[in-house]
Symmetry: C3
């Protein structure tokens, strides 16, 4: 199965690819790499999931929010590359969780995005390196922001 | 016009390129990429703009601070590359705003740097991918720190 | 002397290479680059150094914690590459310090890792670009998380 076919089988719906919130591109191709800007929790209706993890969102809800960020990244890949099949593999993910100071389950939260990528590109090519960290504020009050680097076919 | 000519036309003054605050290089060339360390709000007199965004600095002042970080990055590019014309394009910017927990306008703040780069290298080549996030502390108490990746000619 | 010989002469003991805390790889090779996931303060007994810098850890203790992160990264390099001699140079380090809001000595803390790398690969090839920033929470409550990019021979 191709990445496109694997995504279709998941039965998930993509949000629109976001408009930039400032002076930047959503995706930039440099040789055979696609750099992806920090994406947020964009919903299908164009609004954002907002709130602080550990106060407004519990870990399970935050993990779903991270999956929503992953879906927004997939939407951007499809919009600018035409197809998820253009991606050879995930190289790197940086996941930032807008959390209270004593929060410790960032890896669990960011798995919401990483598990999605693993389902689309497989357990090897869908999994790259990753850092998951806690930040104390994010644009629009979103609970999760994720940037990524992909290798292209 | 060249990037150098476009910068000159802006009428802005570069601060000195910063000295490293620790064990790192300000700029490293890897093949045709120039990696730039996190830069801060260095002023012409060698001191730093300090303060927390949302408490000590309002968004407009913080945006000017981010422009000052952009100027420090330009100073480093000129010092180590000789000329802004050596840069082909902006690939990536990571902007970190030292903000209060309910701050939400990080993209507006980091535009202070991104708009400067767009003026120097143009609306295509001066604009790359970007993440803008909130952090709760930065070296020396600066309000903004920005790292970047450029492609060289 | 080779990097392996220089490390041996330091008389330091490596912790085990960590298991991933989520869906990611510890190290990924892309052409002649090795991307390293965010690593934490893993001790020889497999437990973590925990605590907030500026509250539970003073700067000197936090610097030692950052050195421990550096040792965990060396353990990962040895596990997946076979030898520290496979690394040509350090390209980039991103150091995140889990600190109180008024902390300002992030560069001093992250030097704990950077000085270790400089001892292993030398003052030129062991030193790359770097950003050091403050975050308000990290996985497992660790005080320091560091990700890195190396160039391979």
């Amino acid at each position: 199965m191709t990445p496109e076919q694997r995504f279709e089988k998941l039965g998930l719906t993509l949000p629109p690819s976001p408009d930039p919130l400032g002076v930047y591109k959503l995706l930039l191709i440099d040789d055979n790499h696609a750099y992806i800007s920090g994406h947020g929790t964009l919903k299908e209706d164009g609004t954002w999931i907002v709130g602080k993890v550990g106060a407004d969102l519990d870990p399970e809800t935050a993990k779903l929010a991270a999956q929503q960020v992953g879906l927004a990244i997939l939407a951007t890949l499809k919009k600018y590359l035409g197809s998820l099949d253009r991606v050879d593999r995930v190289i790197k993910v940086l996941g930032m969780v807008n959390a209270v100071p004593d929060f410790t389950r960032h890896p669990y939260v960011i798995n919401g995005c990483s598990e999605l990528f693993a389902k689309v590109w497989g357990d090897d090519k869908g999994v790259g390196v990753r850092s998951a960290v806690g930040v104390n504020s994010l644009p629009e009050g979103i609970p999760v922001e994720i940037e990524a680097l992909f290798k292209l076919n």
